[in-house]
């Protein structure tokens, strides 16, 4: 088994794992019956799914003998931005009162999203 074959097999495996996680993520998105729980499924499993797909890409290029690492960059961007998206969607849910009301914070008076002086 050459390095290329190993990389190819690894890439294939990564592809399968990655796409599996992607599927699980969207299944969760469809399956869960509460907006907040739904939020868990894709933003998390997505990271793993895409991560594995990117790993597959990395390995595939390695297998072709043209090593490539810039896939890491995509991963980095996703890691930085995904929490922001999730945070905002959660805020929307809280703001729209479409979820169970969160418990009061311990130190401060309320949650920032609900802290609306103009209502």
């Amino acid at each position: 088994m050459t390095l290329s074959t190993i990389a190819t097999l690894g890439a294939a495996l990564s592809l399968l794992i990655g796409s599996g996680f992607v599927l699980v993520g969207v299944v969760g998105l469809l399956k869960f019956d509460d907006p907040m729980t739904r939020l868990h499924a894709p933003t998390k499993v997505g990271t793993m799914g895409i991560g594995m797909l990117l790993l597959a890409s990395l390995l595939a290029s390695l297998a072709k003998g043209e090593p490539s690492i810039h896939e890491l960059l995509i991963m980095a961007f996703l890691f930085v931005t995904a929490p922001v998206s999730a945070n905002f969607i959660a805020k929307v849910t809280i703001h729209r009162r479409t979820c169970e009301t969160p418990p009061a914070p311990q130190k401060d008076s309320t949650w920032s999203t609900l802290d609306t002086p103009d209502t």
Partner: protein, 95 residues
């Protein structure tokens, strides 16, 4: 073509189908809703799935230049999610 390549090919096709199915399922969530948060979430998921799709297409077609596209999606995809959410939260997305 070695067996590894064959396996890889199959894995690629499975991945593509999985991603495509993922898109369709996300779309279903978008249509169902019911809350606006769900819809934004579905869009966000679809953007990330699309990113995956582009990456896998790049491998599948053997074209490296799709990297820049994927990079852009990763870098800027969240902006529309944030903008939509901000719209719900504040109305003014720039204030």
């Amino acid at each position: 073509m070695t067996s590894a390549d064959g396996l890889f090919e199959i894995a690629l096709i499975i991945a593509l189908i999985a991603l495509a199915a993922g898109q369709i399922l996300s779309m279903a969530r978008l249509v169902i809703g019911p809350t606006v948060a769900d819809r934004i979430l579905a869009l966000d998921t679809m953007v990330i799935n699309a990113l995956g799709l582009i990456v896998v297409l790049g491998i599948y077609q053997g074209v490296k230049v799709y990297f820049e596209v994927a990079l852009l999606v990763a870098m800027l995809g969240f902006v529309s999610t944030v903008a939509l959410a901000r719209f719900i939260l504040r109305g003014d997305i720039i204030e």
